[in-house]
Symmetry: C2
Subunit: 140 residues, 2 copies
């Protein structure tokens, strides 16, 4: 990474995910359960392959993602969140709540987001625990 503009928490975070795409990938993993390049590529926002490849690389460099081989296909990778990545969940949730309160989000997503928020801390902790189980298992 380059030298950061400042060491303010907000700035350091934005230098990692302050762009239009990075948090959409995290959303795809944390909310949609996606794990593969082609799955990310298929999201509604239609990211292009070079941007996706770049963002995945940056996320790995920043210790938010790792990957392991997919046994089903030698060229296929399974992307895994690290603890650092899983703990972005509250950030996503705060953003989703704000959006649902103030923007014209589509009904289905809004419903899902509100359910997650309404579940409160206990539900959110459970989801993060499940994520830890799913993503942090050692590469077998």
């Amino acid at each position: 990474m380059n030298i950061p503009r400042s060491h303010c928490p907000m700035n350091l975070a934005l230098e990692i995910f302050g762009d239009k795409w990075t948090l959409l990938i995290i959303r795809d993993i944390l909310i949609e359960g996606k794990r593969h390049f082609r799955e990310f590529l298929a999201s509604d926002e239609s990211i292009s392959t070079n941007i996706l490849a770049d963002r995945l690389l940056q996320l790995e460099r920043n210790g938010i993602l790792t990957h392991k081989p997919d046994p089903s296909h030698k060229q296929k990778k399974v992307y895994c969140l690290t603890t650092k990545g899983i703990e972005l969940f509250p950030v996503l949730l705060a953003i989703a709540k704000w959006s649902c309160d103030h923007l014209a989000v589509d009904k289905k997503s809004a419903e899902h987001a509100r359910m997650l928020i309404k579940g409160g801390e206990p539900l959110q902790q459970k989801i993060m625990d499940d994520m830890r189980d799913l993503h942090l298992k050692p590469i077998k």
Copy 2:
């Protein structure tokens, strides 16, 4: 605004503040108490004037900021958050918490952020109430 890539809450939010600068301006207002162009300009990250002018305009267009004349100087504007803007506070806080937990933030900022987080809901509500008092008063 252009047609959004999708109506997912995350995407809609990122189309507004998914960049390196926008949330730094919100931070300057919500956390640092800044209200003027020149104050934003003086922040550590050294934003340039045209980018700052553009982001302030976008924030106004998106209903997050407004401005009113500053009685002390005919050319001076006082920037005010709307309710929509003030309610970005939990988003900033979630990001700051994640940063403090996972990045090399400077000690002073980390301390401040942790204080805000440790205060919990009551402190956060109080801060947002103060902000409403300060920013939402009608232009006299």
